[in-house]
């Protein structure tokens, strides 16, 4: 059996390597060749670990030959947003300042888990500086380009992670999401991006941005891949004080259960306005495919977004305060003034935002007593042009960048699990739809996504040929 490595998802690669139909080394060499050929146009990678990867792949091949089973991701190449610690590599977190740090002493927990499952780390990926952005337009390392249209943004802040998967450089990547930084680039690049429940996955070894709101999560091109990697990443971790103590809840075995018994609703009002028609139509199509007809209103979502912004600005600024005082000129101009302004926020505003967060979380929890899943758009529009300052939504001109997170921010605010699923557009750029559950409801989300995928409603085929820039 010859596997088409161009389109194979991670599960297919792992199956082939475990069955000795494919060498891990071959899969890794293919990924490295794709990176060499396509990354110059995309700028996804900030570090490529070719030698390390090939050594690791050879070790996996030896293990398989010896009759061992490294795990569900055997031989699968992957890459990570460059805020994850990689042993022996300096953790840039998208910055120039962090170049001066010593190399990380150990892998982030998430990387260690993926390696333990047999996956092969091939490199680190571009991001907005210190994760403060929705566009991956980084003044130190350059912008990451959208594989669907090189003149457009890949989204952010995990732009490199999303674009690398969309372009078929690697089948799996890791990113982080504070206000939308997994979901936004997933939607704009036409791939799956999972922001799990807050605290579900260990953040140990990931450079933080806003501790109250930071999550880590995967990008992939199939539902089974998302489920597989999510299951591998679950587990308690003494190195992470906010990592849940709940035991893992494997989702992969539940994928085929379909949507029976799941009450699915469409988010109304705030989530049904200020979006381009293609985006709202995608939500309707997904709703129809899932048999969802009822609408729910997530109350005060605009206030939730505002409170999330205040928490983000305060915590982010506090984390970087020493450098903001001593070397503001070394920050990316795109983040610097926002970080500086965040240092000025009254403490009472921050506490009020955290209290509002408790109130809002209680109201949304009440909603989930009558629904299991809620559908909403991921972004208000498909990928904007790189450097695009303004956009028009519902006839209103507004700043592009902060409003890419319009629909993502009120959800990450209270740590709800959300999967952004790609809805391909025959004549245009892909758009994403968010499938949202109550905390720890990832299995229900993935069941719904599997149903949609089986119907051909959602898909993430590799962008076949990069358009000329």
């Amino acid at each position: 059996m010859t596997l088409d490595l161009q389109q194979a998802d991670a599960v297919a690669i792992a199956q082939a390597v475990r069955a000795k139909d494919l060498k891990a080394t071959a899969a890794t060499e293919f990924a490295l060749s794709q990176i060499a050929a396509k990354d110059p146009s995309l700028n996804c990678f900030t570090t490529v670990l070719a030698e390390q990867a090939l050594i690791a792949a050879a070790q996996v091949d030896d293990a398989v030959q010896a009759g061992k089973d490294p795990g569900p991701l055997t031989g699968v190449p992957f890459a990570v947003k460059n805020l994850f610690d990689i042993q022996g590599v300096t953790t840039l977190a998208g910055s120039k300042i962090n170049r001066e740090l010593p190399p990380a002493r150990q892998d982030a927990t998430a990387i260690a888990k993926l390696k333990q499952a047999g996956a092969i780390l091939v490199g680190a990926l571009n991001m907005d500086e210190y994760a403060y952005g929705f566009v991956t337009e980084n003044s130190h390392y350059g912008p990451t380009h959208n594989p669907h249209d090189l003149n457009r943004t890949a989204g952010g802040s995990s732009g490199g992670s999303a674009a690398a998967v969309a372009a078929g450089l690697v089948p799996l990547t890791l990113g982080s999401d504070t206000n939308g930084s997994i979901r936004v680039p997933a939607a704009l690049c036409g791939v799956f991006g999972l922001k799990p429940t807050y605290g579900r996955l260990s953040r140990a070894g990931a450079f933080l941005f806003s501790s109250s709101l930071d999550h880590i999560g995967p990008f992939a091109r199939s539902v089974r891949d998302v489920a597989t990697i999510f299951d591998v990443l679950q587990g308690t971790d003494a190195r992470d004080p906010i990592c849940t103590l709940r035991p893992p809840d494997p989702c992969l075995p539940q994928l085929d259960r379909g949507t029976e018994g799941l009450n699915i609703a469409i988010a109304a009002e705030y989530f049904a306005h200020s979006a381009e028609p293609a985006v709202l139509q995608a939500v309707e199509q997904v709703a129809r495919a899932l048999g969802a007809t009822q609408h729910v209103t997530i109350p005060e979502a605009d206030r939730a977004r505002a409170a999330a912004y205040i928490i983000t600005a305060t915590e982010g600024s506090n984390l970087h305060l020493a450098n903001l005082k001593s070397r503001p000129q070394d920050f990316d101009p795109a983040t610097r003034d926002r970080f500086l302004a965040g240092a000025l926020i009254p403490g009472s505003w921050y506490v009020q935002a955290q209290r509002f967060r408790r109130w809002y979380g209680d109201r949304v929890q009440e909603l989930f007593q009558t629904v299991d899943l809620i559908l909403a758009p991921t972004t208000p529009c498909p990928a904007p042009q790189l450097g695009q300052e303004k956009m028009v939504l519902d006839g209103v001109e507004m700043l592009t960048r902060p409003n890419l997170g319009l629909f993502t921010q009120p959800l990450s605010f209270i740590g709800l699990p959300v999967l952004s699923v790609p809805v391909p557009q025959p004549q245009g750029l892909p758009v994403g739809v968010q499938i949202i559950a109550a905390p720890y409801g990832e299995a229900a989300i993935l069941r719904a996504a599997a149903t949609l995928e089986a119907q051909g409603m959602i898909a993430a085929p590799v962008v076949q040929s990069l358009p000329a820039s």
């Binding site: 505002a306 503001p328 302004a341 240092a343 000025l344």
Partner: protein
């Protein structure tokens, strides 16, 4: 510069609070900071006066049993 649509003087807020925070603002950066501070002020108005029962506590809950091993020096600069 004062934005007349706001009820406070953003410039003064920025300059005075930066001084209190011992945060130098270079002339190059100050306009962008004032601009962002205006935005922050406007954003905060969306929830600051939303009435909450007194019984609503801040979302984060402190667990005195949770230790945290000291992070590697890789993350301090």
């Amino acid at each position: 510069m004062t934005d007349e649509s706001l009820s406070i003087d953003i410039d003064r807020w920025v300059d005075q609070t930066a001084a209190v925070m011992d945060l130098p603002l270079s002339p190059d950066h100050r306009p962008g900071v004032v601009d962002n501070a205006s935005r922050i002020w406007a954003i905060a108005q969306l929830f600051l006066d939303f009435p909450l029962p007194e019984t609503i506590e801040p979302a984060p809950v402190f667990d005195p049993t949770l230790g945290h091993a000291s992070t590697t020096s890789s993350h301090s600069l």
